[in-house]
């Protein structure tokens, strides 16, 4: 270019250049944001698996909580798993032949696994010392709510539980997915 463009024109060219640069950058960045946000917006699959057999009904003795694992199908991104451990729960029965309750082992405070202390007869969270009674009520510690009870029923000689996960750290019980 033989003639030097005036400063005003150069300023305009700078704006155009920056605009084109921004446009090309947007082509990767905008879809990229959608790409990253997509999985975050997905639920954890439908309403979770149906009732799963976790134990024999006779195995649950009164006053002796039984820790069992729920094994069932799960979808995880592209994977479809037919038999994986979905989580654990405590089966509790107050009296012989009485009804059975199931509590998720996930502590509603920050998600640690809750143990049962046979000496005190309470559920204790090993992480932050939340304690719960056999009905799942919070007796102390930082947990914002009692243990999460899971839907359960006895079918023949089997105990079936509908395993679910709940949001932790909130006073309100809120299922995930």
């Amino acid at each position: 270019m033989a003639v030097e463009p005036p400063d005003e024109r150069r300023a305009f060219l700078k704006v155009i250049t920056a605009g084109l640069g921004a446009l090309t950058a947007a082509l990767a960045i905008v879809p990229g944001l959608g790409f990253l946000a997509g999985p975050a917006r997905r639920g954890a699959g439908a309403s979770g698996p149906g009732p799963l057999r976790v134990a024999g009904e006779r195995d649950v003795k009164p006053g002796k909580p039984l820790r069992v694992t729920a094994v069932g199908p799960r979808e995880d991104a592209w994977l479809r798993l037919d038999h994986v451990t979905l989580g654990s729960c405590w089966l509790v029965r107050a009296v012989e032949d009485g009804p059975i309750k199931a509590f998720s082992t996930v502590c509603p405070h920050l998600g640690c696994g809750v143990d049962f202390d046979e000496k005190t007869g309470k559920f204790n969270c090993p992480c932050h010392t939340s304690a719960f009674d056999l009905d799942g009520r919070c007796l102390g510690g930082p947990s914002p709510r009692g243990l999460d009870q899971l839907e359960t029923h006895v079918e023949g000689r089997d105990v079936l539980v509908r395993y679910q996960r709940f949001r932790v750290g909130t006073a309100k019980r809120e299922p995930i997915g």
């Binding site: 033989a2 150069r10 060219l13 640069g21 990767a28 990229g32 790409f35 991104a77 592209w78 037919d82």
Partner: protein, 578 residues
């Protein structure tokens, strides 16, 4: 507070935004940087010729961004690679677009880097004092090529798998170090998980580091020596016509960049992302073809067979590469004028023409080859099936075809049925051969020789059925009757009716009832061969309406689930063909 402890005089504080800017500029040396950038000059004036290097760098940034995005999902394992890529392609928000940008962006990068190289060649920009930068540039081009080669294995689909297998074998054919190099690439004696993890580590970690390092060096050396103006300009002329890089050259870079981006985007949308074939199947016989940029080499190999193959795979490419690196020292021309460098430019032109010819030959040959078209069509069906099945979720072992009832049924068949029944039309071990089961031909053969080796003969049933003796016309009618009972839609109702009327006359009714209710020695013929009937035979053939106490087949009711029996029934129904 000043050093002697007296309060310092209040300084005039500029408005806040300026203060922050000045603080940052002071710490980061921003003004210096801005001055350096602004001071850049293009001798001879800004030009479209000078845009390609910047556009190539921009494409690399696009590859980096989309590559990082893909890496948030991609899983380098034999079981997970294809499944995760199919998930990106078919299920994720904008997944196909991001993957398409990465794939077509890499092709664009190779093209633009190639054009950049040709421009440097044309302008004589490889000559003194830029010899080193020419070699750095060539190395960068090589790194981009390795990027591409390692990248297209990663989806672990048929195309990537087989192309990479061929390349690994070519590497293995190199003298002395070949075998060791092949094992290094593969991570062992054969292709497997380590092949993928190695290719991934190379593609996503090692190569980016190498490329960024070389790119910094490339730009550094470019800044040292500057643009090479057009050969027709004297040094004084070029200096006189110089224009600032920012914004004059930058604008041209941005325009060409935007054009290339546009082409890439259109290609991505037109192809709905990048192609993804069916998962790698090492047992298949796949017609392997490399990506477009490797086609010339592929075609070159066709001319050198047997022990001479190494000429095409190593010697010719090796000589070409060595010549390219040595070019600045071989070129003794007095000026940058093309007229003074005829031999160099003619050599480069010939090389380019040869690449184009070889590539085109490979493409045209495949386009004219019906076997190639057939293989592509088969792969298309297989690929579409696999991706449709993947929408239901891929099993942990990565075998997406397990989602297909037919495939599952075939597995059950191999496991439970093939021991007794044949499928090849050559007879079974202990039961009828089911090739073309329930077709008119199968029924006709059965009536002619029920106790023959293709039918019940191998089951060794005591007092089995005797061959049906009748005129050809009557046989036709009986076949049609049985054919109609299977529920076949194309059965001739009139002829089938006549066949039914013939049953008592041919003494069929001695052993068979045909009302769906009567229990007799042989199976009740009502609805024989329908899906329900087949499922019932698989479940328990000893039902009084079926084979009764003559049944010799295993009762699968307690061995298979209802769903498995259903799958198997469909499998058996499909044996008839269409």
């Amino acid at each position: 507070m000043s050093a002697d402890g007296t309060p310092a005089a209040p300084r005039r504080t500029p408005p806040k935004p300026l203060r922050v800017r000045a603080w940052l500029a002071d710490r980061l040396g921003l003004e210096e940087l801005a001055r350096t950038v602004a001071a850049g000059q293009v001798p001879g004036g800004a030009s479209l010729w000078h845009t390609f290097g910047s556009v190539a760098a921009g494409l690399f940034v696009l590859e980096a961004i989309t590559g990082i995005l893909l890496a948030t999902v991609y899983t380098p394992s034999v079981a997970g690679a294809w499944a995760s890529v199919a998930y990106i392609q078919d299920q994720m928000t904008m997944g196909w677009f991001v993957r398409g940008l990465h794939s077509f962006g890499s092709s664009a990068l190779i093209v633009i880097a190639g054009v950049h190289l040709l421009q440097v060649l044309l302008f004589g920009a490889y000559r003194r004092p830029r010899e080193m930068n020419w070699m750095v540039g060539l190395t960068l081009f090589g790194v981009v090529a390795v990027f591409a080669l390692s990248g297209y294995l990663l989806p672990w689909d048929q195309k990537g798998y087989w192309a990479k297998l061929v390349e690994a074998t070519i590497t293995g054919s190199a003298p002395v170090v070949g075998g060791a190099a092949q094992k290094l690439i593969q991570g062992g004696a054969a292709f497997g998980n380590l092949t993928l993890t190695r290719a991934y580590a190379l593609h996503a970690m090692a190569l980016p580091a190498v490329l960024i390092g070389l790119l910094v060096l490339h730009v550094r050396l470019f800044r040292r020596h500057g643009y090479t103006p057009k050969w027709s300009l004297s040094t004084e002329d070029a200096a006189g016509r110089a224009t600032p890089t920012w914004p004059d050259q930058a604008l041209r870079n941005a325009i060409v960049g935007a054009l290339v981006w546009g082409v890439v985007t259109v290609a991505v949308i037109a192809h709905h992302g990048a192609p993804l074939e069916s998962p790698a199947d090492p047992t298949s016989s796949y017609l392997a073809r490399p990506e477009w940029y490797a086609l010339p080499l592929f075609q070159l190999r066709m001319f050198f067979e047997g022990p001479l193959e190494i000429v095409a795979t190593m010697i010719i490419p090796g000589i070409a590469t060595a010549l390219a690196f040595a070019l600045p020292f071989l070129d003794r021309a007095p000026t940058n004028r093309p007229g003074d460098r005829r031999r160099v430019l003619a050599g480069a032109g010939l090389g380019l023409a040869a690449l184009a010819c070889l590539g085109t030959t490979a493409l045209v040959k495949d386009r004219r080859d019906p076997a190639y078209a057939k293989a592509r069509a088969e792969e298309k069906v297989r690929g579409e099936t696999a991706r449709r099945l993947a929408l239901k979720g891929v099993p942990a072992d990565g075998n997406v075809f397990r989602n297909d009832p037919q495939y599952r049924a075939r597995e059950i068949w191999d496991d439970r049925c093939a021991g007794c029944h044949g499928l090849a039309g050559t007879g079974g071990e202990k039961g009828p051969d089911l090739k073309d089961y329930n077709s008119r031909a199968w029924i006709r053969g059965f009536l002619a020789n029920p106790d023959g080796p293709l039918y019940m003969g191998t089951a060794k049933i005591e007092k089995g059925m005797k061959p049906v003796e009748a005129t050809p016309d009557d046989i036709d009618a009986l076949v049609e009757y049985l054919y109609a009972e299977t529920g076949a839609a194309d059965a001739d109702a009139a002829r089938a009716g006549r066949g039914r009327d013939l049953l008592p006359q041919k003494d069929c009714d001695t052993c068979h009832d045909f009302d769906g209710e009567g229990e007799n020695d042989g199976p009740n013929l009502k609805g024989r061969g329908t899906p329900k009937w087949i499922a019932a035979v698989i479940a328990d053939g000893s039902h009084p309406l079926l084979f009764g106490d003559r049944n010799k087949m295993t009762k699968f009711r307690s061995k298979l689930t209802a769903e498995q029996i259903d799958d198997l029934t469909k499998f058996v129904l499909d044996l008839k063909g269409h």
